[in-house]
């Protein structure tokens, strides 16, 4: 079983690549998929590179970049400004808090942690939408969105981490 060491981005380039990945996935989420249910859901595939970044990046300023990306998400999704900013921040902080725990964790543990944080984040998504927006989010759609996000984790995380040099032939700091 491969394990994940504490990966350090060696340069700003690595950090920017992560940000770029999040940005691309935010835009990709708006692709016209041709299916009512897929379009109606809010699948958070962009959470996956955020999870990766939170897990490996120790710097203090990562969160500000995440906030900016959350703002991009808000602007393109017609949600009130601050909605996705808040969710991105929460997700990032929850993921960062598990950094020590996931130092030598196997893939299944990492995935489980992601699932757990996803549940908390989508729980917050539902609660905030109930309180703030004009329409309460549908429990069904919120649940389906969370589920779709969780099961798409391997599809995005594994290739992304491989590109970043973390999964196989990782660099030991």
């Amino acid at each position: 079983m491969s394990s994940f060491s504490q990966f350090q981005p060696q340069s700003r380039r690595d950090l920017l690549v992560s940000y770029l990945a999040i940005f691309i996935l935010i835009l990709l989420e708006h692709a016209p998929l041709g299916n009512y249910w897929l379009s109606a859901m809010d699948i958070g595939i962009f959470f996956i590179p955020i999870f990766f970044l939170a897990r490996v990046y120790d710097g203090p300023w990562g969160l500000f970049g995440i906030m900016l990306l959350g703002l991009v998400k808000d602007l393109t999704s017609e949600t009130p400004l601050g909605f996705w900013v808040l969710l991105f921040c929460l997700f990032f902080m929850l993921s960062s808090s598990q950094r020590q725990f996931l130092v030598n964790a196997g893939f299944r543990t990492v995935w489980s942690t992601f699932v757990f944080i996803c549940l908390l984040t989508y729980g917050a998504y539902y609660l905030i939408s109930m309180v703030h927006t004009d329409l309460p989010a549908s429990v069904l759609l919120t649940g389906l969105s969370a589920f779709a996000t969780m099961i798409s984790f391997p599809l995005v995380y594994l290739p992304f981490a491989w590109v970043q040099g973390d999964e196989i032939g990782f660099r030991r700091g």
Binding site: A31, L33, S39, A40, F64, T76, S129
Partner: protein, 289 residues
């Protein structure tokens, strides 16, 4: 002042948790303090879409290509069947076009006789859907045409076979389309056979419903619906769909177009004046709630 030391031994004012809490506080402030329907925010959204449009096109290109290819392949499998269907539709269309031309000439004659102003021809502008902003909260699409192409707020947008929404905000190069299934969409319609007027309202569900029906209205299942032109802005006669009834007997609308399959749309460039603050809204003041 408390300071923290990182692994590298650097001093910091705040540690990671502190920074996180500050960010969360800022985000929460944005979320709960900023006004929901501020026109400046809507304008900012539209400008962002204008700015991001090239990136949206680039990122969504693979998905659209895949859909094109899969659409092409499924069309291949049904080719002979489709060809026969298209041939007979074409024949029927020819007759309809001929009849429509005759009616148009007759109508123009009547207008002249009654000294009514002539109706301006309807112009159509094509656009491509570059982003699907649909979520549990809103039902909007982004098209790659804007003010520079003659689009303005309030214009009706058609799919292949019927009305699918209206322009809700316009930037220079992009515009947002509020789909008829959105909760904020309310369009005056009329049934072709029984002449019943109603408002077609979105419910954030796949099918919009018919509101404000007269008490004595009796609609038939399958009856065609078109825009009624009431209230101005949306021209009369645009096809929409047909009437259907749910299990409780409440009428809803089965749209002609499948909103999930839209890749190209047609914007009806209305010649009638828009809402009073049309000029102000060209920068995008329409809001969805």
């Amino acid at each position: 002042m408390v300071d923290f030391r990182t692994r590298k031994g650097e001093k910091r004012l705040l540690n990671g948790t502190g920074i996180g809490l500050v960010c969360v506080a800022i985000a929460a402030l944005m979320l709960f303090i900023l006004p929901k329907d501020d026109p400046r925010i809507t304008s900012l959204r539209q400008q962002s879409l204008d700015f991001l449009e090239p990136a949206l096109e680039l990122v969504t290109w693979p998905v659209r290509r895949v859909r094109d290819v899969s659409g092409w392949m499924s069309n291949l499998s049904r080719m002979s069947e489709d060809i026969e269907k298209l041939k007979s539709e074409n024949q029927a269309m020819r007759l309809i076009v001929e009849a429509a031309s005759r009616d148009k000439a007759l109508l123009a004659q009547y207008r002249r006789l009654l000294s009514l102003p002539t109706e301006a021809d309807i112009e159509i502008a094509g656009a491509r859907v570059v982003a699907d902003l649909r979520s549990p909260f809103v039902k909007t699409l982004v098209a790659n045409s804007g003010a520079q192409n003659g689009l303005s707020v309030g214009q009706a947008v058609m799919g292949d076979r019927g009305l699918i929404g209206r322009i809700i905000s316009v930037g220079e190069e992009t515009s947002r389309i509020l789909l008829v299934t959105d909760f904020n969409s309310h369009i005056p319609v009329i049934s072709v056979t029984s002449n019943v007027r109603a408002i077609m309202s979105g419910r954030n569900q796949p099918d919009p419903v018919l509101d404000f029906l007269p008490r004595t209205a009796s609609l038939e299942d399958g009856e065609k619906l078109i825009t009624s032109g009431d209230g101005g802005n949306v021209p009369i006669g645009l096809p929409i769909g047909v009437v259907a009834f749910d299990d409780s007997g409440n009428p809803y609308v089965q749209l002609n177009d499948n909103l999930d399959q839209l890749l190209h749309v047609r914007v009806v460039l209305a010649s009638t004046p828009g809402p009073p603050r049309q000029e102000a809204r060209k920068s995008g003041q329409g809001q969805t709630r």
